[in-house]
């Protein structure tokens, strides 16, 4: 099996064992780790949950207490802040009440005071605290009010210390009378107008109606001195009639700032609300003269407005998560409100809660860290254990597979052909057993291959020799076709094969004499060299004993006798021999146990010719054979074969058989012998397919085309006398004319006949009595005639006679000796032989 055909990726045993151990180890560790981590996490969760519950409860309790505490603080803080503002305002209210009281005293006792002069404002006197006279309008005559003015000017004695005693917050002090003038005391005479109608001012009317000190809401000073507040109180004359108003303008930037700076924590601020609910001071407001009212639903403090305006101090929460702490400022009927978001109030509680949560979280984190650390340590241990397992299992499996690898190298070396190599694994375990088995196997293979090599070499040697034998055998059979190109009368073709090994089939054909053709088809029993040798003997004997005119039965009897003599192997031959007389078409044959031949009559079909066969050759001494005879007409054919043809089998083990053979022969009835045999062979091959073939296939076909001498051929036998010459000449001339012989050639042939016959007539027979036979044969290609002269006279070879000297003069020339010379010159070929008591002279002439 090829390495590439194995399933999947290569996985060494070592790797597989390592992987399995590792897998088990890791699985155990992971399982333990998971269980352990689960337990730790559950424990941590329980601790954290309890801790959080505890912290939450503590934080809630603390927050409630803190909230109460904070409310108290707010309440007190608001009151305290309100008190501070109240105190400041009350001081200014006290001042104006003092001024009003002193003015009333002035009215009650004018004579007790020295009038003081008050001048109109003079820019020269700025930055000096002076009194400036301002008239209400043009209708007021200065002279008319001079007395009252001089009197009231005595107030300056009070104003001066107040002005200087104050820390600079008082911008100006002034009084306005019903009588139409105003005394202004400040250091900004440059800003003081000559006339100012004050009667419509809010502070004027408010003070008159209140009958006591009042405060205006803070406003931006007309003269740009910042946020200003006016505290006014009415003046009554000696008759307790309203005479005017005395005022202090206080710059309340600081006051407001002190309110605005109130800080109760992140998000808290304070603001002032007047008696009407207007927010008069607030970090958010701008002094445009419009105020937001807390009773306005859009106001944040709307929900707490009733509480705020109740005149009591308190703390009111809103649903919006706000707290309002409020406290009244009595001096000005104002209310100080502190806006605090609940978050600020609850912040400490939240802080506790957060603290607890944070501590719980810290605990959790600490636990997480511990778990993490434990986990990391576990991982490290895990890694160490895995490493150890890998290393240990590696070394273990290496110890296990090392010998295997070593054995594999040994086996690979053996597999490349080094069969003498011995595996050196000496372990006393299964691998050691395997190594021993491999060593045994290699030794066995080595022995086997040695044996096989020897046997194969022997077989090859024998095979080569058999090849040579087969070639020799094949070459003994006539294999040049056309076999008789100068014999138009017959056509013979034969094949033997496929000779896979030396076998006993053979065929043969040869001329027995000029007019007789012998054909032989035979099959020696058995195969191999003995059969081949026997075949050689058989073939040679048959050919040697087939002599002209001899009875074929006799031939076979003689051959049989000779074969039986040396037949120690008890082999035998089936054989068929036939001899065709080409002149008459008589076909004599003899059959020694062989297949019947097929005969095709001209224009007809091939049919088996029933021949009663004799016993096989070499089968039994003294066997008699009888010759049969049939007559072949021109166009007849004879087909003979060996049983290898009919007994071939195909892969279904069916025999080819006579029927198929007959069919294929008749399908090729018109074929020449040279075409017929390949056609039969092709049909056999198609039938056989791929099945192996064991027997030789030998076939021979003979066609008798025409009788010899059918056109102008023949012979004439006459007495050996001179007077017989014309008869012979006439006989030959008649034939020559039929052959369209040229006149010149005919003349030369006639001369030759004259010379030869006159010679025979005069010299052949001592007794003067005898016969001569003249035979004429024609040839087609090239056109020629062959004339044979046969006599039974004394042996004489005329060709040995010396040629005459043709250069002599007439007187010197001898008359004899010219005849044969003329024949030699006139003919193309002249031959002589003496055979069987006959002088046979043959001349050949192209015509």
């Amino acid at each position: 099996m090829d390495r590439n055909e194995r399933n999947g990726k290569r996985q060494p045993i070592r790797r597989q064992v390592q992987r399995m151990v590792l897998l088990l180890c890791v699985a155990a560790l992971v399982l333990t780790g998971v269980l352990w981590a689960g337990s730790l996490t559950a424990l941590r969760d329980i601790v954290l949950r309890d801790s959080q519950d505890l912290g939450g409860a503590a934080a809630s309790a603390g927050a409630d207490a803190l909230l109460d505490q904070m409310e108290q603080n707010l309440y007190k803080g608001a009151q305290s802040e309100a008190g501070v503002v109240d105190e400041k305002l009350e001081r200014y209210a006290g001042h104006v009440r003092d001024f009003a009281y002193f003015a009333h005293r002035l009215y009650e006792e004018p004579e007790a005071y020295v009038p003081k002069e008050v001048l109109p404002p003079d820019a020269e006197s700025q930055y000096t605290y002076t009194m400036q006279l301002v008239l209400r309008d043009g209708t007021v005559d200065r002279e008319d009010v001079a007395g009252e003015m001089g009197l009231l000017a005595n107030l300056v004695h009070m104003w001066e210390p107040v002005m200087t005693g104050d820390s600079g917050n008082i911008a100006s002090i002034y009084l306005c009378t019903e009588s139409g003038f105003m005394i202004n005391y400040d250091e900004r005479s440059d800003l003081t107008p000559d006339q100012f109608d004050y009667t419509g001012s809010s502070w004027y009317t408010a003070a008159r109606e209140a009958g006591g000190a009042v405060f205006t809401v803070p406003y931006l000073d007309t003269f740009g001195r910042g946020l200003m507040l006016t505290c006014a109180a009415p003046i009554y004359d000696g008759a307790d009639r309203f005479a005017g108003v005395v005022c202090i303008d206080v710059m309340v930037e600081d006051l407001c700032r002190s309110v605005l700076d109130i800080d109760f924590g992140a998000g808290s601020y304070a603001f002032l609300v007047d008696a009407g609910g207007d927010i008069i001071v607030s970090p958010q407001m701008e002094y445009t003269g419009d105020f937001e009212n807390i009773r306005d639903p859009s106001c944040l403090a709307y929900e707490a407005a009733d509480s705020i305006m109740s005149g009591q101090a308190g703390v009111a929460p809103t649903s919006g998560g706000l707290y309002y702490a409020y406290a009244p400022i009595d001096a000005a009927s104002w209310i100080l409100v502190v806006h605090v978001p609940e978050t600020m109030v609850t912040a400490p509680a939240e802080a506790i809660r957060e603290d607890i949560t944070a501590r719980t979280g810290a605990t959790g984190a600490a636990m997480d860290r511990s778990i993490l650390r434990a986990g990391l340590i576990s991982l490290a241990v895990f890694a160490v254990v895995v490493g150890a397992v890998v290393a240990l299992s590696g070394s273990f499996t290496k110890r296990l597979t090392g010998p295997l690898l070593e054995l594999r190298e040994d086996v690979e070396r053996i597999s490349t052909g080094d069969l003498l190599h011995q595996a050196q694994v000496r372990q006393n375990d299964e691998i050691g057993d395997l190594a021993l088995s491999f060593n045994d196997m290699a030794s066995s293979l080595d022995r086997y291959i040695h044996d096989l090599t020897a046997v194969t070499a022997e077989k090859e040697r024998i095979g080569a020799e058999l090849d040579i034998a087969r070639n020799i055998q094949s070459s003994m059979l006539p294999c040049i076709f056309p076999a008789f190109p100068d014999r138009p009368e017959i056509d013979v073709y034969a094949t033997m094969g496929p000779a896979k090994e030396v076998g006993g089939d053979f065929y043969d054909f040869f001329m027995v004499d000029e007019t007789h053709l012998a054909v032989v088809v035979a099959d020696v029993s058995g195969k191999g060299v003995p059969a081949a040798l026997f075949m050689v003997i058989g073939k040679t004997l048959i050919k040697d004993h087939t002599t002209p005119g001899r009875d074929l039965g006799e031939v076979f009897m003689e051959v049989n006798r000779l074969l039986c003599e040396g037949n120690s192997e008890e082999m035998f031959i089936t054989a068929f021999e036939g001899v065709l007389d080409m002149e008459t078409g008589q076909f004599n044959f003899v059959n020694a146990g062989h297949e019947m031949p097929f005969i095709l009559r001209a224009g007809g079909t091939y049919e088996p010719y029933k021949v009663r066969p004799g016993f096989v050759l070499a089968g039994m001494e003294g066997t008699r054979y009888r010759m049969g005879t049939l007559t072949m007409e021109p166009g007849d054919k004879l087909f003979q074969y060996t049983d290898g043809v009919t007994e071939v089998t195909n892969s279904q083990n069916e025999l080819y058989g006579m029927e198929r053979l007959t069919a294929v022969l008749n399908a090729n009835a018109a074929a020449t012998p040279e075409e017929l045999l390949p056609a039969v062979k092709a049909d056999i091959d198609a039938f056989v397919g791929g099945a192996p073939q064991f027997d030789d296939i030998t076939m021979l076909c003979l066609e008798f085309r025409e009788r010899m001498g059918a056109e102008g051929a023949g012979e004439i036998t006459v007495d050996a006398e001179l007077k017989s010459i014309p008869a012979v000449t006439d006989f030959v001339d008649g034939r020559l004319e039929a052959l369209n012989c040229s006149a010149k050639a005919k003349a030369k042939i006639d001369v030759a006949i004259d010379e030869v016959l006159s010679n025979i007539a005069q010299y052949a027979y001592d007794s003067g009595k005898g016969t001569v036979t003249v035979r004429l044969e024609s040839e087609r290609r090239p056109p020629a005639v062959r004339i044979t002269f046969i006599d039974h006279g004394k042996p004489y070879d005329p060709l040995t006679r010396e040629d005459p000297d043709v250069a002599l003069s007439a007187e010197e020339r001898q008359a004899g000796g010219l005849g044969i010379f003329l024949v030699k010159k006139a003919m193309d070929d002249v031959r002589y032989e003496y055979r069987d008591g006959q002088n046979i002279l043959t001349v050949r002439k192209l015509i």
Partner: protein
């Protein structure tokens, strides 16, 4: 073979027709042996002669030898076949052929 003979004083003319071979040569031989006396000019006309064999040659050689002694002899109208025979046998040099 037929022989047509014409005699004019010492001149003898023989016209031959057919074949001059073993069977006919003796007739010509006899004619010449008997009829050459007094002949000084022998003329053989071969126009009708097909061929001749060595027997014919022998007769011609004999006649030539006789005429060499008493006159002259000539052959006329010799065909190709016969001329070829004369040539291969050397008779073309011995005979007078026109």
């Amino acid at each position: 073979m037929t022989i047509t003979k014409t005699r004019e004083g010492g001149r003898l003319a023989l016209a031959l027709e057919g074949r001059l071979d073993t069977s006919t040569a003796p007739a010509l031989d006899a004619e010449l042996k008997n009829g050459l006396s007094g002949v000084t000019a022998l003329e053989l006309d071969f126009a009708g002669l097909d061929y001749l064999s060595s027997a014919g040659l022998r007769v011609l050689l004999s006649a030539q030898k006789t005429m060499n002694r008493q006159g002259s002899m000539k052959l006329t109208h010799v065909n190709d076949t016969i001329m070829e025979i004369f040539e291969v046998t050397g008779f073309a040099d011995i005979l007078t052929i026109e």
